[in-house]
């Protein structure tokens, strides 16, 4: 476990009497302020998300000094960790007295395993990337940031049927809550459109996807492959399928980490369409600022998962600034967004937790290793504008 401290205020040595007096005064004011005590925000995410800590720390430091100090406690999650490991991780977080909330865990399985612990110990849990439908009803202390897998699966199915004109689709899905949830959404949408789902193939990270791909293609001969998995398995499957003649791939949001996906996918990379909850080429100022800061610090493009993790941490920080560090009040603050308070303005868009809230999904295509939006879809009809004047969904 890594521990990072977000710092506020200057640390420079005062020079001269006036400067010393000003420093003492500032110190007294800080000591008198209730919210000046450092509080902890738990962050349970795959190692690839570690850079977000540095980015958020930098962003917090750039804010005004009246912001409270935050200690971001990062706990690295390995995708596919058993449920008991996730439960133990959540219990460690819940045992921290100064914890105001947790951002995580990464996948649906981990988040679902951890959520009962947070609800039992009354710790606000912001789930940045997990899409399981079960998360929305698991308890009053769990707040998923992204639309559930039904909406994402429907988006993929619609895109596959309408935009790609698929006739025979094989669905590869990772055999956990994320994969099965996405599979159900995709097959449901394809059924409605009359597109044949010729094969459904479960797999996991410990398996042999190449064999599965070879057997499935020989058996079903699909023209589009839908993959509901994370980037590593998706890359291997896409490469194996490309080598056997499949040229079009649609993948879920979990795969969109180009720096890992592209090398594994090889020549298939530019044939991959991937769902994104956010893309770094958005033109709004907040997105640009985040992308710039991320690139400056990490020298890489930010991923949608990084943007969502950033929004989760900053949302907890803003809640603590608004209502203090009491967990109950933070929970109430989160519930009030979009009701009695305006939605929180995040990099990924306005954030609230009301039923039927606005949700924007994008379909990106990898072009020379970078995701480029091709369809901007707003299932709730809020009328979001596609970034950069790209093609808007026409179906």
């Amino acid at each position: 476990m890594l521990s990072e401290r977000g710092s506020v205020g200057g640390r420079g040595r005062p020079r001269g009497l006036a400067a010393r007096a000003a420093w003492l005064l500032a110190l007294a004011l800080v000591a008198c302020a209730n919210d000046s005590r450092p509080v902890a925000i738990g962050y349970a995410f795959p190692l690839s998300g570690r850079d977000v800590v540095a980015v958020v720390r930098d962003e917090l430091a750039a804010l005004r000094p009246d912001r409270p100090a935050f200690r971001i406690v990062f706990d690295s999650v390995v995708p596919g960790d058993p449920a008991d490991v996730e439960v133990e991780r959540a219990e460690r977080f819940a045992a921290m007295a100064d914890l105001i909330g947790v951002v995580g865990h990464a996948g649906s399985r981990g988040s679902l395993a951890a959520a009962p612990v947070y609800n039992e110990f009354e710790v606000p849990q912001i789930v940045p990337t997990a899409t399981s439908r079960l998360l929305s009803g698991i308890g009053p202390w769990t707040f998923p940031l992204v639309p559930n897998d039904s909406i994402e699966g429907e988006f993929i199915g619609e895109f596959t049927a309408v935009r790609l004109g698929a006739r025979r689709v094989t669905v590869f899905y990772i055999n956990d809550e994320y994969g099965t949830g996405l599979r159900d959404g995709v097959t449901s949408a394809l059924d409605r459109r009359g597109v044949a789902v010729v094969d459904e193939v479960p797999f996991d990270h410990a398996g042999d996807p190449e064999t599965l791909v070879e057997a499935s293609i020989r058996r079903a001969r699909p023209d589009v492959l839908v993959v509901a998995a994370r980037q590593r398995e998706t890359g291997r499957i896409a490469r194996a399928a490309w080598e056997r003649g499949v040229r079009r791939f649609v993948v879920g949001d979990g795969a969109l980490i180009p720096r890992e996906l592209v090398p594994l996918a090889g020549p298939a990379a530019d044939s991959i369409y991937a769902v994104a909850f956010w893309l770094p080429d958005r033109v709004d100022s907040l997105s640009r600022a985040f992308a710039d800061r991320y690139r400056r610090i990490t020298r890489e493009d930010p991923t949608p998962a990084a943007a969502l993790a950033r929004d989760g941490i900053m949302l907890l920080a803003e809640a603590a600034r608004q209502v203090g560090t009491d967990r109950q009040r933070i929970r109430d603050y989160l519930r009030s967004l979009g009701r009695t308070r305006p939605p929180f303005r995040g990099v990924t868009g306005p954030i609230s937790f009301v039923p039927g809230r606005p949700a924007r999904l994008q379909m990106a295509r990898l072009a020379r290793g970078r995701p480029v939006a091709v369809v901007d879809w707003d299932p709730t009809g809020s009328g979001a504008t596609p970034p950069g004047g790209r093609v808007r969904a026409a179906w």
Partner: protein, 637 residues
């Protein structure tokens, strides 16, 4: 004090509040006891069901999935043993694996924490086993038979782990269920124990309720009942203790107040009775001299040799004597009106008799009487004396009211017949009835005369009128000069049938007494002398006796047709004489006339033995005496 709701009144809680408290307390007690039992046991059972249901459901689904996968694993082992037809077996395995879908959605969050991770691990192992089986099938489809042993070994390993985990989950689940069942048992035992304690407390509380009920309800009611019983037996000095200011306390206070009023009224009534007795005695003593005055003056007035001036004076003495006698008779009648006698009543006569009693006050108080009595009024059926009492009361009230205003003071009495009823109005130009008491004027003990009034006059008058089938109402509005209206039903033909014509005492016509032998028994010489003189002048042979014994002694030697005897005499009075005559001379006993100043002195038995038509009330005129003697003498044949 709020009389509608919970309230404290004076020194204590109101009885209604106490009863409500008792009822609500008992109801609350039942609710608490049974609510406690239902809540404790029900919530524990509900919690057990709520926690167990998803666990059992999930465990069942995972067990079913593991069973399907186990079947697929068993089938997969055939792949190594068979040399051909592996594709067919693979397709079967694919179908089996397809049936071994994960439960969706997986309700892990509702599973108890201890069981949750174990079942999640079972689910993960099932998914992994499912994936390996799918890969095995793929390898068969691709003709990679050499990989099958290695893949089957991995599948076996996962399967073994799944079985172990499933067993562990089952063990944990059973432990959990057993622990919950024990917890439920403990909860039921504790709830039962608590309920028993509550019931025991309730049993202890019952005597408290009994004590409260006895102290607050039974004892006061018993005291009240005893007090009422003593009052019913005539003991008016009863006072029952007032312990609280609740309803029963107020009832006791009213009871005490009522007995005080009754006691005061009884004392007052006693004084009235004593005054009546005194008045009767005085009247009797006054009647004899009056009778003598009337008889002497009557004798002298008929003397043809008397000078005209003296005759006029004698006649004046005679009229004044008759007037005084009439007043005394009225007074006696009024104070002796306790006996009820229903018969035909002339309303005008009753009103006139009442006016006679109060007439002297008209002159004293300068009251002008205006009388509008309709002649030939139909009679009513009732008690003439009690109707006269009503009239006296109304007239007395009017006189009292008129005394409060300056002259001219006018009193109106009127009678008339109207639609089968006889109406009687008494009105005055006094100050009227105050509005404060107008509505309750006919209630007992309500008076506008302050301490001088009993508050019973109008109440009793209305009762008397109602007993006669009539009404008594205040016609005037409050503050206006008072006017009372009595409405009485005229007597029906069937009422009058059988009732004698004697609306008033007989007025026998005078007739000659020649040849009639009369024995006059009177102890007072001044009274006896003029009667003897008058009867002899009428032609009768009159013998004299000074008392009953004297009369009986003379009867042996004298033939007598009629005996006229005074009621009150020394040695043997008139009643005793009558009794003796019935024994010795029954025929003469039927021709005995009794003279009395107060007939009420006759006992009931004597009154029945002596027919009313042979009772003569003093003072009577000599003509009346002669007429009665002639009437009785005629019966001697």
């Amino acid at each position: 004090m709020n009389r509608q709701g919970w309230s404290w009144s004076g020194g204590g809680l109101r009885l209604r509040s106490v009863l409500l408290l008792l009822v609500y307390g008992a109801f609350g007690y039942m609710v608490v006891v049974f609510g406690l039992l239902a809540y404790r046991v029900g919530s524990a059972a509900s919690e057990l069901r709520r926690d167990s249901e998803p666990m059992l459901r999930l465990y069942g689904e995972l067990t079913a999935r593991a069973g399907a996968l186990e079947q697929a694993v068993s089938t997969a082992k055939l792949l190594v043993e068979v040399g051909s037809g592996r594709e067919v077996i693979a397709s079967k395995i694919r179908a089996m694996v397809g049936r071994a879908e994960a439960p969706s959605p997986v309700p892990f969050a509702r599973v108890p924490l201890r069981m949750r991770t174990e079942l999640a691990r079972v689910d993960e192992l099932s998914s992994a086993l499912q994936n390996r089986l799918v890969e095995l099938v793929a390898a068969v489809e691709l003709g990679r038979g050499d990989e099958l042993p290695m893949r089957l070994a991995a599948i076996d390993s996962l399967h073994d782990e799944l079985i172990v985990r499933l067993g562990e989950a089952q063990r944990i689940g059973l432990e959990d269920l057993v622990a919950r069942e024990r917890e439920l048992d403990t909860t039921v035992q504790r709830a039962t124990q608590d309920v028993l304690w509550w019931l025991a407390g309730g049993v202890l509380f019952v005597p408290v309720l009994v004590v409260v009920a006895r102290r607050r309800i039974e004892r006061p009611l018993r005291a009240l009942e005893a007090g009422l019983g003593r009052v019913a037996e005539g003991e008016l000095g009863v006072e029952i203790p007032v312990h609280r200011d609740d309803e029963i306390g107020r009832l006791a206070r009213h009871f005490n107040q009522m007995t005080r009023v009754l006691r005061d009224r009884a004392e007052e009534q006693g004084r009235f009775v004593a005054a009546g007795e005194l008045l009767a005695g005085v009247a009797h003593e006054v009647n004899n001299p009056l009778m003598a005055i009337v008889a002497l003056s009557g004798n002298r007035a008929t003397d043809p040799e008397l000078a005209p001036e003296l005759r006029a004076e004698m006649q004046q003495i005679l009229r004044q004597g008759q007037r005084a006698g009439k007043l005394v008779a009225g007074l006696l009648r009024f104070v002796r009106s306790g006996d009820r006698h229903a018969g035909r009543v002339d309303v005008n006569r009753s009103l006139r008799d009442a006016l006679d009693l109060v007439a002297y006050q008209f002159r004293v108080d300068e009251i002008t009487l205006e009388s509008r009595m309709e002649e030939d009024l139909p009679p009513i059926w009732g008690d003439a004396l009690r109707l006269e009492q009503v009239c006296v009361n109304l007239l007395s009230n009017a006189i009292d009211a008129l005394r409060q205003v300056r002259p001219p003071r006018r009193l109106l009495v009127a009678t008339w017949a109207e639609a089968g009823r006889v109406m009687l109005r008494v009105a005055d130009n006094g100050p009227g009835i105050p509005a404060a008491i107008a509505g309750r004027l006919f209630h007992p003990f309500v008076t506008s005369k302050g301490a001088q009034g009993t508050g019973l006059g109008l109440y009793i008058s209305r009762q008397i009128v109602r007993e006669m089938g009539g009404t008594l109402e205040l016609e005037s509005r409050p503050g206006q000069p008072a006017s009372f209206l009595v409405s009485l039903p005229a007597a029906q033909r069937e009422d009058l049938a059988g009732d004698g014509p004697a609306v008033e005492p007989d007025r026998p016509a005078a007739r000659g007494l020649a040849g009639v032998r009369v024995l006059l028994v009177e102890d007072e010489e001044p009274l006896r002398r003029p009667m003897v003189k008058y009867l002899r002048r009428c032609g009768a042979t009159v013998h004299e006796a000074s008392d009953g014994l004297d009369a009986l002694a003379r009867l042996d030697a004298l033939p007598v047709d009629v005996i006229v005897a005074d009621l009150r005499m020394p040695r043997m009075d008139g009643v005793a004489l009558h009794r003796a005559l019935r024994q010795s001379h029954p025929a003469l006993a039927r021709r005995l006339l009794i003279l009395s100043g107060d007939l009420s002195q006759l006992s009931a038995a004597d009154g029945e033995a002596l027919p009313r038509d042979r009772l003569l009330v003093k003072p009577i005129t000599l003509e009346e005496l002669g007429a009665n003697v002639a009437r009785v003498a005629a019966t001697a044949g």
